[in-house]
């Protein structure tokens, strides 16, 4: 479904950092991929390259066979098929919860009002905040905001969901509710790429774990193999530090 072919990315500001070095990967439909690694390892950059929030300077990413770095590609139609959830939620503060979930449906999917409202109601129920449909984002807790953000991304009926550290900005007692929602969708067969530090989540739902360090994929494999028998020293060290 997504074919990452040898991408490179270097940041020059504030100083030169090689964020991605020759990263290749293949993400199949229905797969749940968890990307882990120390901070600065390039995992977020990798995720953001998948929907061209960052552009790689070399290499190709094919989404359903479409090269997204090709200037002729209409990136908006590609992005409409990819939902993204951010660490800092990024809900639109000038719209209600309903408005947040409904806006892209209206502008991008051009859904009629009735269909939009039905979809919004259904999704808010699914993430467990239908009571807050008319609330403003600033009146919600972090966990609730993140669940709205997930509903907002799902409202587009994406083929794949990208999660960029969705629980890192949350208070510990709210992490559970967000992970619960993510697990539900993972079990329904949604394709997911998730950058996270939640090892429990990775173990439980991931089909594949990718460990990155210094812009490179150091190791990847199924969660059992990855956590029980890591092969690289760097992976062993990392796992020892966080577990």
């Amino acid at each position: 479904m997504i074919d990452v072919i040898s991408i490179y990315k270097t940041f020059y500001v504030p100083h030169e950092v090689k964020a991605l070095v020759d990263v290749s990967n293949k993400i199949e439909a229905g797969e749940v991929v968890v990307v882990i690694g120390p901070s600065g390892s390039g995992k977020s950059t990798f995720l953001r390259c998948l929907n061209r929030l960052e552009t790689a300077e070399r290499g190709q990413i094919l989404v359903d066979g479409v090269d997204i770095f090709d200037p002729k590609t209409n990136i908006n139609t590609v992005r409409a098929e990819m939902g993204m959830v951010f660490q800092s939620f990024n809900l639109y503060p000038h719209l209600t919860v309903q408005g947040n979930v409904g806006l892209a449906q209206k502008l991008v999917r051009k859904r009629p009002k009735k269909e939009r409202e039905e979809k919004t109601r259904m999704l808010l129920e699914k993430v467990g905040i239908s009571a807050k449909a008319k609330a403003w984002p600033s009146n919600l807790s972090g966990g609730q905001q993140q669940r709205v953000a997930i509903a907002r991304a799902l409202a587009m009926d994406p083929k794949i969901m990208l999660f960029d550290e969705p629980t890192s900005a949350l208070d510990p007692e709210m992490i559970g509710e967000v992970l619960e929602v993510m697990k539900t969708f993972a079990k329904e067969g949604m394709t997911m790429v998730c950058v996270t530090h939640e090892m429990g989540f990775a173990r439980e739902v991931a089909d594949r774990v990718i460990f990155m360090d210094e812009g490179m994929v150091v190791e990847e494999g199924t969660p059992e193999k990855f956590y029980k028998n890591p092969t690289h020293d760097r992976t062993k060290l990392f796992l020892k530090q966080i577990l």
């Binding site: 990819m82 990024n90 991008v108």
Partner: protein
Amino acid sequence: MNQGRQKTSSAGLFSKAINMEQNISNIKRLSNPIAYILSVCGFLVLLFMVIGSVYYATVAVDYQWRWFKVPKYFMYKSTITLYAEGYGEIDTIAANKDKYDITVTTDAGERTYTVPEGTFDWIEGDMVAPGDIIASYEGGWQPGILAKGLWVTLKISFIATIFGILLGIIGGVARVSNTPVLKWSAMAYVEVIRGSPLLVQIMIFYFVLGTTMNKILMMNGIPKLDAEWYGIMALSVFTGAYVVEIVRAGIEAIHPGQVEAARSSGMTYFQCMFHIILPQALKTILPPLAGQFINLIKDSSLLGMISIRELTKATREGITTSLQTFELWILCAILYLLMTFTLSMCVQYLERRTATK
């Protein structure tokens, strides 16, 4: 020595405590009705002292205050005087309800004047010569020169505000875009307009652009534009340049995550701009924008230079006929104050409304 330091630090603390107490007691004092009334009285006394001393000084230089002459600059009863147009005679005088129809035949033709009773002194068959007064009577209420000037100022400011906002938003969006042509155009516009005086720009708009455009319009058989429109153009272009910078600052204050969220859901650049960024930016740009439009109202006073009869020019004309210099200039200032104060009240109301979200 140790003791001394302790003392100073405790003194510092003490003075801080007093400061805090004063802040609190200020609020307390005003919640006491007697203290409140005394404060208001004190303020009014000060105000009257300032106004009184100015008044006293003007009386000392023998200025005659004639405020009673001022209302006619807002509304006056016009006098209508009808003159005969040529040599001839009064044909008929016939009653027409409570008025009279006077038919006059002169070498310029036959005309019928309908006038109220008692405003003429003719009988049928009287001879008339050109310039003879046929009748003279009071007409209806007419807006005075200040009222007209006020209206022109309001109209010009309103239209220029709308065009200024449009120009500012277009320029602001262009200013933050990644397209070099748009970005450079917006930057050049802002720098050029902010770098020269408004008065000079008004002159250029009227005497350079106006002359050229009116000539071209006339050559194509289209009626030429009024000075008013060139004034509006100058003001909107001038204000627009400042609004560009205000809009740019407002846009740049939006968290980049907002753009990422919108773009990652497949919205185009413009959808993101008009549905996500600008609505949020509006809240931060409202106060500086209001200041800009208050300036616009005040700057419109310069348009008198290109013979637009707005409030300031109307005041000047009023003074040349009446010589009520002090009254009319003070009144002019008060009228501007009323306009700007109303505007800032409206904006404060809007700010409160958007703040609740």
